[in-house]
Amino acid sequence: MDILVPVITLGLMGLLFGVGLALAAKKFCVANDPRLEAIYGKLPQANCGACGMPGCMGFAEGLIEGRCTLAHCSVSTEDALKAIAGILGIELKTKIKAAAVLHCYGGSVRAKDKGTYRGVRDCVNANLIMQGQKLCAYGCIGFGTCAQVCPFNAIVMNEEDLPVVNEDKCTACGKCVAVCPKKLFSLIPKKHKVYVACSSHDSGKDTKTTCSTGCIACRLCEKACPFDAIHVIDNLAIIDYNKCTSCKKCVAVCPVKIIKTRE
C-alpha cells in the first residue's frame, strides 16, 4: 500500500501540470500566418542580412506585411523567388544579378609594405594603425576579413594575399563591400566583364613607387574606348557601366595591366 501514495501524488501532479499547460497553450496561443513557414522554407536561410531585415525569418514577415519586396533578397535563386511570389500571390519582376569585384591587384608580390605588421591579422584592426602595413594607402591589406565575413564562402585568399571572388557562389549580399576598410569591393552586374583593379588616387609617379601594378593615369584607355565609357578621374580610371559594352579594347592597351576581365 505504501507505493500507492507516491504513485497517486506524482500522477496527479503530472496530470495537473499537463492539463494546465494544455489550457495555457490554448489561452496564450499566438496565431501564426501559415504563409510565414512556407516562405521561410523557400528562402536561403543564411541570415546574411542583405535585405536589411534581421535574418530570413524577419524578411519573410516583412514580405507578408508588405514592408519588403522580393528584390531586396539578392541571395535567392530565380526559382525560389518565383515560388515565394506564388505563395504571396504577386508577380515577380526579373532583376539583374550582380557579383562583387575587388578593385586592387597589389597583393604581397606587387604592392610594397611600409614595415612589418605584427598585430591582429584582421584588416579592420590593421587599418586603424597608420592605415595598414601597405605603402599604398588605397590598396588591399590582405588579411582576408572579407573572406571571413562572406556567408557563402565565395571569397578565398590566394597565395598572393589577395581575395578572389567566386562569381558562381557570390550572391551580391554586400557583406564584403561593407566590411572592407579600404572600400575596395563593388557590386557589378554579371553581364559586365571589365573592371579596374586599382583604387589608387595617387599621381602616376607616386603610384609607381608603392606598387608595380597601380593605375598611373596615362589615359591610354580613355583614348582607346570607342564608347566614351572609361575616364581617368582624380588619377584613377573609372568605368561608366551605363556605356561599357565589354569590348575589352581598354584591357589590351593598359600598360600596367590593371584593367581586368572576369571569368
Binding site: 501514495v5 501524488t9 501532479m13 494546465g20 495555457a24 496564450f28 496561443c29 499566438v30
Partner: protein, 202 residues
Amino acid sequence: MDVSKVLAIAISMIFINNFILSKFLGLCPFLGVSKETKPAVSMGFAVIFVMTCSSIITWVLYRFVLLPFHIEYLRTITFILVIATFVQLIEMVIRKYSMPLYRALGIYLPLITTNCAVLGVTILNVDNFFVAGKAVEGSFFYSSFQAFFAGVGFLLALFLMSGIRERLQLLDIPEHTKGIPIAFVIASLMSLAFMGFMGFKF
C-alpha cells in the same frame, strides 16, 4: 527574518559558493552563451528570474505536498517536473504579451529548462532550510533570497567570462587553443580565483 543572515546568504551565493565557479553547476550555458556580453547578460537575467520563481513554487510544493505524504525522496523528479512546466508556461505568456522580450530570451528559456543550476538551487533550499522534516523559521524567504542571489552569482560569472572571451578574440594565441580549449583554461583559472573566497583548507 534576519538582515545579517540575508547578507550572509548573498555573499555566500554570489562569491563563496558561486554556482558555476565553486559548485560547477550549469556549465553548459557558461561555455555556450559566453561568447558575447549582451546575450550572456540576457541569459543571466533569465536565469535569475527562473531560479527565484521556481524555488518559490518548489518550496510550497515540498512543504505542503511532499512532506505531509512523506515522499521527500521523490523531490528530484518532482522539481524537474515543476521547473520544466514553469518554463514552458513562462515562454507561452511572454510570447503572447511581449514579442520583443520573447525574441530576446527566445533561445535561452528552453536552455534553462535543462539547466542543472536551477534544480541545484531548489534542492539546496530544501537541504538548508528544512531541518528534520520541518521548515526552519523564515525558511520561505531565505530560500527565495538564496535562489535570487544564486542567480546573481550565475549572472556575475557569465558576465565576467563573456568579457574575457570577447577580449580573447583579439589576442594572438596558439591556433589549436582557440575557441573552446582556451575557454576551459580561463574557466579553471576563474574557478581557482573564486576558491580564494572560501579560504584555503588542507
